[in-house]
């Protein structure tokens, strides 16, 4: 479980996140939604520690992450897997080396065990025979899947995904979404997904948190979204003509 209490983040004098309080539950796919520029990515990067927060607390189970020193934070980071928007695979390494890097860094496994683990993770994301390919030689959807394989290589307790299906066609997007949901349930991970894709919300959103202009103004399940009376959320969810027609 990850708990965020009174989190505030400023860039210079501009408040980007304003007093956010939210709990992300274990074994569930928690979604953060909101318009572009609403502060979703800043919230996600603040939770993982890429941005220092100005005020508030971030708890990973019973550990206050933002009060830990560098070494203690490093220990928690080994329990974190993250999928970045563009995949963030290392261009100069092939698929196998990308997935193996966390194992190389933080385990004492021998090469054969590491290869087994790499192949297991790649198989888990439905990839095979791609070990020797470089990121430039695979498609966008495959890159995302390799990034997921890398994120789960160390059996993370927490999984973060920043817009996992951006730049993908709807079908591939759903494949990635379902993969994230299945992995979350299978390994009982606390997963937080940043998205503005309503397909993802309806498909995998066990818990949905809506951020509007840096404030959390709604949270609930994906079913409750359709019947909420929160104006800003309704404007976001039913932004397209198709969605408006379906609603009516």
């Amino acid at each position: 479980m990850i708990e965020v209490k009174n989190l505030t983040k400023k860039f210079d004098d501009k408040i980007v996140l304003d007093d956010i309080n939210v709990t992300f539950e274990q074994g569930k796919t928690n979604l953060i939604i909101g318009q572009s520029g609403s502060g979703k990515t800043v919230l996600l990067k603040s939770i993982v520690g890429l941005f220092p927060v100005d005020k508030g607390e971030i708890w990973y189970d019973d550990r206050q992450y933002n009060a830990l020193n560098f070494k203690q934070k490093k220990e928690i980071r080994k329990e974190i897997g993250m999928l970045f928007q563009g995949g963030a695979l290392f261009d100069s390494s092939n698929v196998q080396e990308n997935v193996m890097l966390p194992l190389d860094m933080f385990t004492d496994m021998n090469l054969s065990d590491k290869l087994d683990r790499v192949n297991f993770c790649l198989a888990r994301v439905n990839l095979s025979d791609v070990n020797r390919l470089y990121p430039s030689e695979i498609s966008g959807g495959m890159k995302k899947r390799v990034a997921i394989a890398r994120a789960i290589a160390l059996n993370p307790k927490y999984l973060f995904c920043d817009e996992p299906n951006s730049g993908l066609d709807p079908q591939t997007g759903i494949v990635i979404d379902n993969l994230i949901k299945n992995i979350t349930e299978e390994f009982n991970i606390t997963t937080i997904v940043n998205t503005h894709d309503m397909n993802s919300v309806m498909e995998i959103g066990d818990k949905v948190v809506f951020i509007y202009e840096g404030k959390k103004i709604w949270e609930g399940s994906n079913d409750e979204i359709l019947t909420t009376d929160c104006t800003e959320l309704n404007d976001f969810v039913f932004a397209t003509n198709l969605a408006k027609k379906l609603r009516n």
Binding site: M82, F90, D104
Partner: protein, 246 residues
């Protein structure tokens, strides 16, 4: 103020770079890769430039020494000392600042803007150390070798000029090369290159590591890497020359 901010950030980055590596063998593996990227891949440019510069210095020196009172072998002496004292260290370093420095800044800058560095940080990897330390070790190991190569090839270029033209007898040139040779010139040159390697890699890596935005900013950081590291190389040249040769 801006300069002090950058200087402070640069030294903080260096303190991260020289932190204890997580896994030594991974750093060793990276260093071998960097030796190939930074060192071996620079062989060609160093050889080509050195051979031509050696040839041109020979022709120019000969042109300026066409005085019957000056012994002909002095052309060889001048070519040798020019190459050993300045060209094969400082000029080669400036060439490498252009080739290697821009490559390092754009590589690390691209990793920054495409969130690859964030991915390393999230994994708990010391990204500064993992990405930059192997490059520093590779450059400090290999740049002196490139400098030595440049000395030999440059002198060889001068010899070929004598061999294929009639400006100077090759035997005079060879005699000049050997005349009053001070071996410590090589040590002086290699010492300078050792420092230059550190300057070029760390300053270029700094520009890339703190790149923000997109392709345009990465391009800018690459340009800054070449300009700033070249300026600092020239400044270091002045200081080291004063320290070593005084």
């Amino acid at each position: 103020m801006k300069f002090l901010e950058h200087a402070g950030q640069y030294f903080i980055l260096l303190s991260k770079v020289f932190a204890r590596p997580e896994k030594y063998y991974l750093y060793y593996r990276q260093t071998i890769r960097e030796i190939e990227k930074i060192g071996l891949n620079s062989f060609g440019i160093v050889v080509i430039i050195s051979i031509f510069v050696g040839a041109v210095i020979t022709i120019q020196t000969n042109y300026n020494m066409e005085n019957p009172l000056l012994p002909r072998y002095l052309v060889g002496v001048t070519v040798r000392d020019s190459l050993l004292l300045e060209f094969s260290s400082t000029m080669v370093a400036l060439i490498l600042a252009g080739k290697v420095g821009s490559s390092i800044a754009s590589e690390i800058g691209t990793m920054r803007v495409s969130e690859q560095i964030d991915a390393l940080e999230i994994m708990g990897v010391n990204s500064a150390s993992y990405l930059i330390l192997p490059k520093i070790v590779a450059a400090m190991f290999f740049f002196p070798i490139l400098s030595l190569l440049s000395m030999f090839v440059g002198i060889f270029g001068g010899y070929l000029t004598c061999l294929f033209t009639d400006i100077l007898l090759p035997s005079d040139f060879i005699y000049g090369i050997q005349y009053m040779f001070y071996p410590h010139y090589i040590g002086y040159s290699v010492t300078k290159v050792f420092f230059y390697a550190f300057i070029i890699v760390t300053m270029s890596a700094y520009q890339g590591y703190f790149a923000k935005g997109g392709a345009l900013e990465v391009g800018r950081s690459s340009t800054k890497a070449v300009v700033y590291s070249s300026i600092v190389v020239l400044l270091a040249n002045l200081i080291l020359t004063k320290l070593i040769l005084s």
